[in-house]
Symmetry: C2
């Protein structure tokens, strides 16, 4: 008997039929003797429909009211799921974020969880009932509802699992785990049975869409074992765990290859190479509320001049360029060039730390495939390269093969859409 | 400067365009210097759509979960209306029943308001903002959401108006007030400028769909002036007030004619006329959860035998007949006859009390129109007759004319569907 938190995304509860499928799984888990907490997202397109309604009314909606609007989606799905689970003969009660004690700060639309006081959930479990909790939402000090932003339901699930000291937090999705590469790109990609939270963070922040960054960070900090698995099968998925001294993770050198096509590259040419230049540059970009991923500055070719390149989300390229041009007074440079058609391919693996030669193999593979590298950036357990957008797939495949990740026998099963 | 509660039903906020129209009215009321509290129902068909989703999942939904599901509708409409009012340049905040302090008992689906603690609403008004409150919902002692059942949004509005000591509670609908008869039946019906709560109760409980019984009862008890008016025009509608000694209502003898086609008639023939017979009969019917409206028992023709007739909602006729047949052991009678195709026509007027001859005029009018009366029932300020369903319209017109209610010049304006 264990305490399990099960999280189902919008595609897992897109209609009544899907809802019943989820209910059968939850009921089976409960009947097997487990305490079950279910975290659920809004059904399929509900959130988009609500956003569309709002857009018909105004371009500048107050953030507080948008959060009230959007949380209606989870309210609907949690109540319907409660009906479905009760119809399976297992008692279930549904709770809003507020009722479940999910406390947040007041940054509407992107609130952070500040604490979880799950008294009602604990009582519900003690009474032998399944507790269903609306994902993506919480309540601030003023008793106003807030939303957690993208990936919010994953975060709700992990935060609840942490507060309840759950034995596992199961994240259900339309793929049956985390793969060594996107199975849509690499057909011979293999499911990874175990990943460290560290590797998962690197994969998630470099394009692997299987888990949301904030949820993984939460899981690492509070030591919540995550189990990423398919809502369409009973197969074991991928476990994401913190390795401990007693239970070190058996680490293959390489975990997998992630890719991200949603980035663009900006290069500021001929920046006057003096103390504070980079600070002024990135202060200007940050002021435009643009998130920067990779930054590369190379040695100066000319005296006192250097080139600084960075990547930003494709949609923010224009914004970033404009912000820099407007800061030209305080920021001496010759030119700005940018390219929205790039992709970032990242090789991730905790074993990389102690294995020299990984980068050589990677660059060799890309060279052999005739793929030009535009930028390189590394962390302790990751090597990322920027390549032209239309070479991303080739790069992923070349790297996947070069590191022996291809599976001979199994082929990945992709069940549905793109998930959350 | 006054404090006004404005209630808008589902047809007034059916889409973004309607929402904006409501927002302009609210903004204008606020700009005129009034404190404004808006109570809003779910958009158009939202509630029906949610009910349909639930029906796809189970036939026996737990009541608590159904209330959570259904309250999502008001949550959406209140947030969207907040967007629309803010877009008009007037600050507005939306509140759920729980946030607005609408406390109820725990009878899910038909909860009664036990108290209103509108602290947040008062603060919102003090800050010069419009407060929007979700109609139809409250919260019980366990912090679980409840719904108030049919007419719930009207009740929310009146209860808030009472708690806030509002100067008026405006109920917006698609007709511009209460008419002397249904304008769809009697084209020469006139708008009634003022009605007593007593008359309104009689009209509402006998088929006039303009206001919900519970809301009127609330208004009478807490002395809340109601103003029933159109959301499509600026015309004055109908004021529903408690007459006081200082301000007696100028009472015409007759207020109006209501009709109700949704009733059926059951007659139990040859009931043994002994003490307790009627009690046993109606206990049996009540046990089947069937609501009885009119009851008529006439003198016995034969010794020790009598006929008892009563009306129940059409949909419950079969249930009632069955309940009585099953109670045959303890209930001696000869036969049951029933007719689902009847209608009740009611003449209502507070002046009736002091004016003899009203019933004579009414029966004369029906006789002249060749309409057979099947049952008669009266209260102090009402006379109701049961007639065949297909003679209801004729009966309403005949009575309307006989009491001089026809308008020579104005013709009623009916704007939309059937309202709430």
């Amino acid at each position: 008997m264990a305490l399990v938190v099960q999280k189902f995304g919008g595609s897992s509860v897109s209609d009544a039929t899907a809802m019943k499928r989820v209910a059968r799984r939850v009921a089976a888990t409960r009947r097997a003797g487990n305490d079950v907490v279910v975290v659920v997202s809004a059904m399929g397109d509900t959130t988009d429909e609500l956003l569309d309604l709002a857009a018909q009314i105004t371009d500048e909606p107050p953030a507080r009211e948008m959060d009230i609007l959007l949380t209606a989606g989870e309210r609907i799905s949690m109540a319907l799921l409660a009906l479905a689970i009760n119809a399976e003969g297992v008692e279930a009660r549904s709770y809003t974020g507020q009722q479940a004690g999910v406390m947040t700060d007041s940054r509407y639309g992107k609130a952070s969880i500040t604490g979880v006081v799950p008294d009602r959930i604990t009582r519900t479990l003690a009474e032998g009932q399944v507790a269903i909790v609306a994902g993506f939402q919480g309540v601030n000090d003023s008793n106003d509802v807030t939303t957690l932003g993208r990936g919010g339901s994953d975060t709700t699930a992990v935060a609840l699992a942490a507060a309840l000291k759950a034995d596992a937090c199961e994240i259900y999705t339309d793929v049956d785990g985390v793969y060594t590469a996107d199975p849509r790109v690499v057909r011979s990609a293999r499911r990874i049975p175990r990943l460290s939270t560290e590797e998962t963070l690197e994969l998630a922040s470099h394009g692997a869409k299987i888990l949301h960054l904030r949820a993984v960070e939460f899981a690492r900090r509070y030591d919540v074992p995550l189990h990423v698995r398919s809502s369409f099968s009973d197969l074991e998925g991928t476990w994401v765990v913190n390795p401990t001294e007693e239970e070190p993770l058996e680490e293959p050198i390489i975990a997998g290859v992630a890719h991200d096509r949603s980035q663009g590259k900006v290069t500021v040419v001929g920046v006057h190479d003096e103390p504070g230049a980079a600070a002024r540059l990135f202060t200007a970009v940050a002021a435009a509320d643009v998130n920067i991923d990779m930054i590369v500055q190379n040695i100066s070719h000319e005296t006192h001049k250097t080139d600084i390149s960075f990547t930003v989300p494709e949609a923010d390229v224009a914004e970033a360029v404009l912000a820099i041009q407007e800061a030209k007074d305080t920021l001496a440079f010759d030119d700005i060039v940018y390219n929205a058609n790039i992709g970032i391919v990242s090789l991730v693996g905790a074993g990389m730390r102690t294995n020299p030669g990984v980068s050589a193999t990677l660059f060799g593979a890309l060279a052999q495939a005739g793929i030009n590298i535009e930028m390189i950036s590394t962390s302790e357990i990751r090597i990322s390269v920027v390549v032209e957008s239309d070479r991303v797939d080739d790069a992923v495949r070349a790297i996947h093969t070069a590191f022996g990740l291809d599976s001979a026998d199994t082929e990945a099963v992709v069940y549905g859409g793109t998930g959350r």
